[in-house]
Amino acid sequence: MEPTGQTTIVRRRRPLRLVVDLNRCQGYAQCVFLAPEVFRLSGEEALRYDPNPDEALRLRVMRAAAACPVQAILVDHGDAGEAGGAS
């Protein structure tokens, strides 16, 4: 995004970003119950997730992150996307 010289707050329509520390994850699956669109189990314990789900799912993802017993879910800080493409 090019600087415009104006102070404006831009609400970007871009996916949410998250990552799960799967070393820490122990498969309690609270996230799977709270945000099944984003978190799934493969078998009993192996978690698969959508790292960039739709922004509309943010509240569910935040609930899932808060409910994780081992706090393995990291959700973006909100102002990411500062890295412009190729230089």
């Binding site: 799967l22 994850c25 009993e44 959508d50 973006d76 500062e82």
Partner: protein
């Protein structure tokens, strides 16, 4: 003459000046590079920060590529990593670093530019080892998997419904790809030169369990054989593989999962302890020069770093694990802006995971450091168990299959240098708890390491040089 207090104050003022207006360059824009940049800002570094990456993408997470991306659920470009804080960096993406001049303190880029640094972080990681025959590797339908683009291409090829997928190499990536192929209902052959899957990382005892898992899920697993050549059709698409036992496999998608190559070529001539082993560094992430002398301004993190580990007889270990990138980056960043008494040590207990065939495989410690294994909990037949690795009566690692909740128990024991066999946690114990050989491959396989030779006589001239391997 300065007083001692004035001298100390001057040094601290220099550190503050560096934190305010210094230049830090991070080469490598993946997990380690991103986390190091965040940590530098968290540490109060307000100077100029440049992040250089050869891929044209913001840092993204690689573990999903061989799982949820290949299965077709998550698009390859939906793997961008979250940021924990504002980084305010100059991102140089899509341009590779091609050289390092330590005297001039600049990183040279592929487009001819030079980027000056006061302190440098090397986090260039590894790349997939390609199929050894370049013309065969260039056939349509032949893939490796390491990058977003790799995963996008392979996902498309799998979605097109190939008659058979051939996977060369049954390490973690190869096994994960085989698992996804079976989930997609694709016929898959896995060819592994060793006696079983995962043998290098977890040994033959666990490898036998992994082999049974693959076969139960319909994988045509062939061990103890290699692929000698790939054969394409007139259109340049791979169609067949010749195996070392004289047999052939017809396949229209081939995945070469043959491990990795460390991205150190750009450091040639820079006089660092860099080579196919990675970049040697101390436990504080400071790079060694070619003579084994620690540098003050160059740091290393992630897959490419190789440092001595106190728990493993101070042997130099390279850990190509996710949390090694995260923790190594944080330690490196802290030490880049800290003076000696405040420096941290990167004392990570290594750990990794792999999801395949509905089983979550997790490990802590360094399994190949052990020579014995004992099953301590659960059931092998149900593929829900924990097993411990030992060396000379000491616990050095543990592995779990769908039993990850118990891994922290073993991690704590390993950190305390507990005896082997370890004290079992008290219930759910298998009938047979007798240690057996873990069956790791002989480490004394010949390798073509470059020779390091010594030159010079006076201490001021004495130094090491790398000589190319003799053929």
């Amino acid at each position: 003459m300065r007083t001692r207090e004035a001298f100390i104050a001057a040094v601290h003022a220099l550190v503050e000046e560096f934190k305010t207006s210094g230049r830090i360059v991070i080469v490598g824009a993946s997990l380690a590079g991103l986390r190091a940049a965040e940590a530098l800002r968290a540490e109060g570094f307000r100077g100029h920060l440049t992040i250089i990456g050869d891929e044209p993408y913001e840092p993204y997470d690689r573990p999903p590529l061989s799982k949820q991306v290949l299965e077709g659920w998550v698009p390859a470009d939906h793997t961008t990593l979250p940021h924990q804080r504002a980084i305010d960096a100059e991102w140089r993406l899509g341009v590779a670093a091609t050289g390092l001049d330590r005297a001039a303190k600049v990183v040279r880029l592929a487009n001819g530019e030079e980027v000056p640094y006061d302190r440098l972080l090397i986090a260039t990681g590894v790349r997939a080892r390609p199929w050894f025959h370049p013309a065969e590797a260039a056939l349509d339908g032949v893939f490796t998997i390491r990058t977003r683009d790799d995963a996008a291409g392979l996902q498309q090829a799998l979605a097109a419904g190939p008659a058979r997928v051939l996977i060369i190499g049954a390490g973690f990536i190869g096994s994960e790809v085989a698992s996804v192929c079976r989930e997609l209902g694709l016929a898959v052959t896995v060819v592994e030169r060793g006696p079983a899957p995962l043998v290098g990382a977890l040994g033959g005892v666990i490898g036998a369990i992994a082999a049974a898992m693959q076969r139960d899920h319909g994988v045509d697993l062939r061990t103890g054989v290699g692929v000698t050549s790939l054969v394409g059709d007139a259109g340049g698409h791979v169609r067949r593989a010749q195996l070392s036992d004289g047999s052939t496999v017809d396949a229209d998608v081939v995945v070469a999962s043959l491990g990795s190559i460390r991205n150190t070529e750009w450091l040639e001539g820079a006089g660092l302890a860099a080579g196919r082993w990675g970049v040697g560094c101390d436990a504080g992430c400071r790079a060694f020069d070619i003579n084994g002398v620690v540098t003050d301004s160059i740091y290393v993190a992630g897959d490419i770093a190789r440092s001595p580990h106190v728990l493993y007889e101070y042997q130099f270990l390279a850990m190509e694990h996710w949390d090694n990138a995260v923790v190594g980056a944080e330690v490196a960043a802290h030490n880049m802006v800290s003076l000696e008494p405040d420096r941290w040590a990167h004392l990570l207990l290594p750990g990794f995971w792999s999801g395949q065939f509905g089983v979550n495989i997790k490990s802590v410690g360094v399994p190949p450091f052990g020579d014995e294994i004992v099953f301590t909990q659960g059931s092998i037949t149900e593929r829900r168990f924990a097993a411990a690795y030992g060396r000379r009566g000491r616990l050095v690692a543990a592995v779990t299959f769908n039993h990850g909740k118990w891994l922290p128990y073993y991690a704590a024991l390993i950190e305390r240098s507990a005896p082997f066999p370890p004290p079992p946690p008290g219930f759910d114990q298998p009938g047979d708890m007798q240690p057996v050989p873990a069956e790791f491959p002989d480490p004394s396989v010949p390798t073509a390491m470059p020779e390091v030779v010594l030159t010079g006589h006076d201490p001021s001239e004495r130094r090491a040089e790398v000589r190319a391997p003799r053929r």
